[in-house]
């Protein structure tokens, strides 16, 4: 299926996606959009894992297994982050990172 496509194309695609995520992480102020940028970053890393596994080590399965683990970690992170965001919203009635600067219980 991937015949005729060099591995570099996959890596460049993942790079663009990764740095789009970095840009969003730096410019966004809303906590949920920051979380979405993190998801973009994790997803681009998965593409890299799978492209390396398929093109350079097709007789092994390391890349695929670690992509599964990355997806599981991303799901955990999203669940806990959204719980924290909703708790912050209850306490401060905003989720803007510049207004939530009080590390106080």
């Amino acid at each position: 299926m991937s015949a005729g496509i060099p591995v570099q194309y996959f890596l460049i695609l993942a790079t663009v996606m990764f740095f789009a995520g970095v840009y969003g992480f730096l410019t966004r102020r809303n906590l949920i959009t920051i979380l979405m940028s993190v998801e973009l970053i994790l997803n681009s890393v998965n593409i890299n894992f799978l492209a390396f596994n398929r093109y350079l080590y097709p007789h092994k399965m390391e890349g695929m297994f670690f992509s599964i683990f990355v997806i599981a970690v991303a799901a955990c992170e999203a669940a806990v982050a959204i719980a924290i965001i909703i708790n912050i919203y209850r306490r401060f009635t905003t989720i803007n990172v510049e207004d939530v600067n009080e590390m106080k219980f």
């Binding site: 299926m1 991937s2 015949a3 005729g4 496509i5 060099p6 570099q8 996959f10 460049i12 695609l13 790079t15 663009v16 996606m17 990764f18 740095f19 789009a20 970095v22 840009y23 969003g24 730096l26 410019t27 102020r29 809303n30 949920i32 979405m36 940028s37 998801e39 973009l40 997803n43 593409i47 799978l50 398929r54 093109y55 350079l56 097709p58 007789h59 092994k60 399965m61 695929m64 297994f65 670690f66 683990f69 997806i71 599981a72 991303a74 799901a75 955990c76 992170e77 999203a78 669940a79 806990v80 959204i82 719980a83 924290i84 965001i85 909703i86 708790n87 209850r90 306490r91 989720i95």
Partner: protein, 180 residues
């Protein structure tokens, strides 16, 4: 050009355009929708690389689970019609410079490096191999990360429940309303 090259170009364009739109759009629900498009086209790429199981996980867990969770929390925390004020000009310029510099550095390195293609026959990744890999302690087994990830899932599940359940001084608003 063959059909799979056209498919790759289609998926690549969708991923690039929608991931840039995800981080630049000023309406939050649109950002979540664009993120959904990015994740679905990524699962198309996984199908192209012949990882059907992972593509199914990507569709069901990312596109089905995480995006729905994000959309729920958006609906709980912000007004849909609300637009973000655009981030400051200086912030945009410096962030764009930093990410463009990183991207150019990475792309130059990728194009410079000589990836040697292997001639080894590809191993078929079927459900049998995946299940054995997860639960085996041999050289190709991943039972330790599997157990670690299961502990992590349990801990994050408990953590999410405990964090979200906790009541706090947020009740101030309702009590003042009651007094009136």
């Amino acid at each position: 050009m063959t059909a799979n090259q056209y498919m790759f170009i289609l998926f690549a364009l969708m991923i690039i355009v929608f991931s840039v739109l995800t981080v630049t759009t000023r309406k939050i629900l649109r950002a979540a929708t664009f993120l959904l498009f990015v994740l679905v086209s990524t699962s198309g790429l996984y199908f192209m690389l012949n990882y059907q199981f992972l593509a199914a996980i990507q569709l069901s867990l990312y596109a089905g689970g995480i995006v729905v969770l994000i959309i729920f929390s958006i609906l709980l925390t912000s007004h849909i019609s609300q637009k973000f004020e655009s981030p400051g000009f200086k912030k945009v310029i410096f962030s764009a410079l930093a990410s463009a510099a990183g991207a150019i550095l990475a792309i130059v390195t990728i194009l410079d490096y000589n990836f040697s293609a292997t001639t080894i026959a590809a191993k078929e990744v079927n459900m049998n191999a995946i299940g054995k890999g997860f639960l085996s302690v041999d050289y190709d087994g991943y039972v330790l990360p599997f157990e670690v990830i299961s502990i992590l899932l349990l801990a994050s599940m408990i953590g999410a429940i405990v964090i979200a359940k906790k009541g706090g001084p947020a009740k101030v608003q309702t009590t003042t309303l009651n007094k009136e």
